[in-house]
């Protein structure tokens, strides 16, 4: 857990890859948003964190799909089926980008899909794009063709 400022946007990241978490944190810091990043290393941990902290709900959850114990799909469907969490925006952040995976997450109710970029600057762009959306925009699932954010 990493707390920056009390009044800043609360962002959750669930990813089992420590390198990716480090890069994500650096990118977030460089973007210069006042944010509070909470990292969980798998789905079980994420659900526990949500259980402890909500309400208030986080501004957005960045969710990796391939995780031990409880993967991203399970976590996503649990979140969408839970009255307390179902309105929290979820952005999928993953390496896998098969069309069927995109389709599955879209139907499970994810708000956006971001393919993990292969350059640091693209990652920053992607995070920036998500954080620049307001709560209302984030909360509505876009049309299918705008679901995948290019990065």
């Amino acid at each position: 857990m990493n707390t920056v400022q009390a009044s800043s946007k609360s962002i959750f990241l669930a990813d089992d890859d420590a390198d990716d978490c480090t890069i994500f944190r650096e990118a977030l810091r460089e973007i210069n948003y006042t944010t509070e990043l909470t990292i969980s290393y798998d789905g079980v941990e994420l659900m526990n964190t949500l259980d402890e902290t909500v309400p208030p709900p986080p501004f957005v959850i960045f969710l990796d799909l391939n995780m031990p114990r409880k993967d991203g799909f399970e976590s996503l469907s649990e979140i969408r089926q839970n009255e307390r969490y179902k309105n929290i925006p979820v952005v999928i952040l993953t390496t896998a980008s098969n069309p069927d995976i995109i389709e599955r997450t879209f139907h499970l109710g994810a708000n956006y899909f971001v393919r993990k970029p292969s350059t640091y600057s693209k990652l920053k762009d992607a995070i920036h794009t998500v954080l620049s959306l307001d709560t209302a925009q984030l909360n509505t699932q876009p049309e299918r063709q705008h679901f995948v954010l290019s990065a």
Binding site: D17, D19, I23, N66, T95, A96, S97, N98, P99, D100, E103, K116, P117, S118, T119, Y120, S121, L123, R144, Q145, H146, V148, S150
Partner: protein
Amino acid sequence: MYYRPENLYREMKKSGLSVVKIIFVLAIVLLIILSVFSYVRTQNLIQSSEWVNHSTRIKLNLANAFSAIISMESYQRGYLITRDSVFLENYNLTREYLSNSIQMIESLTSDNKAHRANLLELKKNVFKRIGYLENLLVESNTKSITNEKMLRGKQMMDEIQKIILLMSDEEDQLLKIRNAKLEKEIFFSPLITTLLLLCATFFILIAYFKIIGDLKESEDLKSEILKTNAMLEVKNAELQKSEERYLKIFDFSPVAMTLAEIGNNQITYANENFYKTFGYSKEEIIGYTAEELNLVSPEENERLIKIILSHLDDDRPLEELQKLSPEETEKLLLKLRLKMFKDGFEVNYQRKNGESFFALVFFEIVEIGGKKVTISSYQDISERKKAAAQVEKQNEELKKINKELESFNYISSHDLQEPLRKIQIFSNRILETEKDKLSGPGQEYFNKIQSSALRMQNLIRDLLAYSRVSADEQEFVKTDLTKIVEQVVSELKETIDEKQAIVEIRQLDSLQIIPFQFHQLFINLFSNALKFAREGVPLQISVESSVQKGSKFSNDYLKADLKYCHIIVQDNGIGFEQEYADKIFDVFRQLNVKGKYEGSGIGLSIVKKIVDNHNGYITARGKLNEGARFDIYIPV
């Protein structure tokens, strides 16, 4: 068809008989009428002729009477002249004769009033004349007879003649009428008789022909019956032959077979293969039931009984069912055959040596020699079962391999890309943050690491895509191509912007496709176009479609009367030489030198594969430095 000549014959005979009967009755009635009529006619004729005879006799007697008087007159005269007593004798005889004649006339005319009056007059005159004659005779003994007295006698004679003529005339009148009547009778009686005879003959003739006809028909029927009988005999012979043939087939069948009597279940016949399969000799089998021979183990027997009872769905206990009459047993067997043995039933049998094996059992009920028997066949399926088990095992293995393949796909899509992406992101990070500390060649090396990693990333992604489009059948969904193309354009937005390309989406149709595959198809075609843009020329990509009959396109691979959705994707990029148009779709085929245009060489192969999956056809047309065009035809 079941042919019954005897019935037909009976029918025909019945109707024929009634007609003949009617005709005969008619003929007999006619003949009776004829006889009566003839009799009456003849009677009339006889009567008429009698009446004629009657008249003739009256006339004859009248004439006799008259001549008798004349004779008496002449005998009297003779006596008077000669005084010979002979004349007197004759006179007396004739007088006797006269009285006889008059008596005759009297009896003949008793029915005729007019005659009777005349006859009285005649008699009076005749007696007067006789009296006068005898007076003269007596007188002559004493005195001679005067002429006057003789003339007086003549007067009396004239009187008599007058009466006789009158009577004769009258009788003539009657005779005339009677003769006419007789003639009529004589004319008509034979005519009517002949007519009736003809009628009778006609009816008898009809009856005759009818009988002849019936006889002929019955003859025909008889010969028909004979023919049928002959045919039946031939059929019987054939049947016997086919029975023999059937037994031969039975004997030489490669499947073990038995015949068993319904009722007592005893095996009456078994073929060679049965003995071979079960390991028994003929003596050990014939006359025994399967149960007695222990062809199945007690456990298997129990299992079979349970299954049989459940199929029969009969409330009666097993013991009762086993004691049923052959007819009822047959009914149950038929039910079993339909429910349980339709596709054969697997039974675990035991050979004589104790070895157990599985056989697929079929049975059929037939009649042989008037007895209902079951023909059962036992197909040894041990080998088949072994093979099936083998296939099952191999299928399991295949499933396992498939699962491994799937996980390999997942590994390559995720686990393999993950470290690669990290190589990229960290080398990129070094280039960004530590650029100043790196020498020129050092920076160059890092660039090479990056482009190699990118190539590898593309390769992995495309290989994965290629294996995915070859995967199992997917669901065909009616999809609007416009939506897919828009999505693809949005996904490729960054590259499109980077190349300052213009994508023109024209008229597009909706059609039955596998959506994600078409998504991949457009991604690949557009990526291809973006990759091969000409330097310095703004890239233009256009996509459109239309639906038309195959005959509208000049393409031999398309069926003329099938409708196709024709999709065209074209660009104004570097194009290619037309001679490479077919090779362009081969896997790992790259027309360009490595390095200048990055690619895996799989992209267009995937496109072709997707088109194939949709039973479609794709062609590529290119002109170097002018552009490329892809024509896709998908049947709708």
